[in-house]
Symmetry: C2
Subunit: 325 residues, 2 copies
């Protein structure tokens, strides 16, 4: 395994690319004249909502699972996750034929817990706090000997997430900026290291819900600032930025901007109605700045990672009330 004292390297990302070949999808890049016109720049959408399991998380989890030694692997893997990482780990473990244990907060979207169960993982429920998640996963590991695959504070996971940017740049070499959402920071860190290594001057910008802006505040402070209790419907982005991702983010990321939940819902709706793509709230976050031309992001060729498409179709955020109780 990688020496964590050296941080995330492009070699780790390249090794992940080789390991992932045939196990995750090369996702398509789509564009819309309508949305590009509206934003005043050519927008390219990397469709990780079309990834295996419906989210980019397949990349990091699969890389981590297949990087384990045979001895480690046979005792299984464990994690805590609001959903997409849990499902991705469950799928990767099933692919390798080893057990997976997933700790999920009780407010997890139903579509996400269903996916975890479908891939044969064992679910343990916990409260929706960082402390309770970590306690519950520690209990599971003590009982099973499973290896923790943290959703973001893990170099193998970060390296796997970085493969999306490598692919994106090979599909759209003219990219000047890549935008991605920030939760725990794994995707943003992987993207930043890949971009820095592959193309001089390629900028990486994080986009975070205003109600869970710990990464933006941390970047300004130059150190991790503890998150207040997150308040956003972007359920994939409520986690606090991790130490390993933050080390890369601090060095390589140009900026982290924040968007309101109102903008996130409007962005999601535009992606559905114009692009015909089902994108979850967290996945729509990096498009949210582009609802107007006053987004302030320089460049003619802007890349946006649409990170996932898993959500309860009975509880769409633009319905005033849930259609069913």
């Amino acid at each position: 395994m990688a020496d964590s004292s050296t941080g995330l390297t492009f070699d780790l990302i390249n090794a992940a690319r080789e390991r992932l070949a045939g196990k995750v999808s090369v996702t398509p890049v789509m564009s819309s004249e309508t949305l590009s016109e509206r934003a005043g720049a050519q927008l390219y959408f990397k469709c990780e909502n079309l990834q295996k399991g419906g989210a980019f998380k397949a990349r990091g989890a699969t890389n981590a699972v297949f990087a384990l030694s045979q001895t480690q692997a046979q005792r299984g893997v464990a994690t805590h996750s609001s959903g997409n990482h849990g499902a991705a780990l469950a799928r990767a473990a099933q692919l390798r034929g080893i057990p997976a244990y997933v700790v999920m907060p009780t407010n997890t979207a139903r579509a996400k817990s269903d996916a975890v169960r479908r891939f044969g993982a064992e679910i343990t429920w916990c409260e929706a706090t960082q402390a309770d998640r970590e306690r519950a996963v520690a209990d599971v590991i003590a009982a099973t000997g499973a290896t923790l695959v943290h959703p973001y504070n893990d170099l193998a996971v970060m390296a796997g997430q970085g493969t999306a940017a490598v692919e994106f740049l090979s599909q759209v070499p003219q990219l000047e900026v890549i935008l991605c959402p920030v939760g725990g920071g794994g995707l943003l860190a992987g993207t930043a290291v890949a971009a820095y290594s592959l193309k001089e001057g390629l900028r990486v910008i994080g986009v975070e819900p205003a109600g869970a802006d710990d990464a933006a505040r941390s970047l300004r402070a130059g150190r991790i600032v503890a998150g207040t209790s997150p308040e956003t419907l972007a359920d994939g982005l409520r986690a606090t930025v991790g130490a390993l991702p933050f080390a890369e983010i601090r060095r390589r990321v140009e900026d982290i901007i924040t968007v309101t939940d109102e903008a996130i819902v409007a962005a999601m709706r535009q992606l559905w109605s114009v692009m015909k793509l089902v994108v979850e709230p967290s996945g729509a976050v990096p498009y949210a700045p582009f609802l107007t031309r006053e987004h302030g992001i320089r460049g003619a060729h802007l890349g946006i990672i649409l990170t996932g498409g898993n959500l309860d179709l009975d509880r769409l955020p633009w319905a005033l009330k849930p259609a069913r109780e």
Copy 2:
């Protein structure tokens, strides 16, 4: 223009392909292991919901508009449409810089009338009957001198729709069957002629809502049987099959099968939740037979044309009540 007494030829479809180059999209083909596994066959989805204007109708309408002489074209084009053809004609007319007049029934989905208006066409409202549609468009033509571009009973339109199958087969040469929905029959006729000309033994099957099954009954009867008042939420498929499409359907189509509205809604929901694609009810119709393995459609490689993705996101059919009044 083509001599209509000869019917639809592959030459007309080829001419349409050349005419459409750069004006409509080459849409992607997608697959899902989950859905293929469920159906017990490899399913390939031709994503015409990702076509310009969100529906395959761009093909036929654009071909018809650009096939007009300069003299005809300058007086504009007119049609009646429950929506997607109207928007497609409006877009094609805008592309050629000529006026478009669209007659729409008052029960048209809001998303569809908005699209027509956005492309600069003039809308005339009518009752939702075939007779009233035809009367209203005749009035418009009398007043303007515009050329009628019928949504399906028109060789240039049928030829344009046939280009989807040509593309599909070039993307997936191993196709054994192509399934597409039937409303007025333009797509089915174009698909059938293209398939017959391109690959021996390639079968074409139409899928129709049980509540608007005039084409299925007509195929069995060997002549056009007048439709009863259509009752289906697949709003794009309420039209009665046209004489020109029916002549091709009768010669070349293996079968037209019917599906319930309940199956259409379930199919649509699966496409959204598993494939992450926004598909409208009419567009989900050809997938509806595959909800179980007992679909009775032979072949290991089955192609499905997902025809469109335009619908009101506030009125999804699986909500018990509309989210907003």
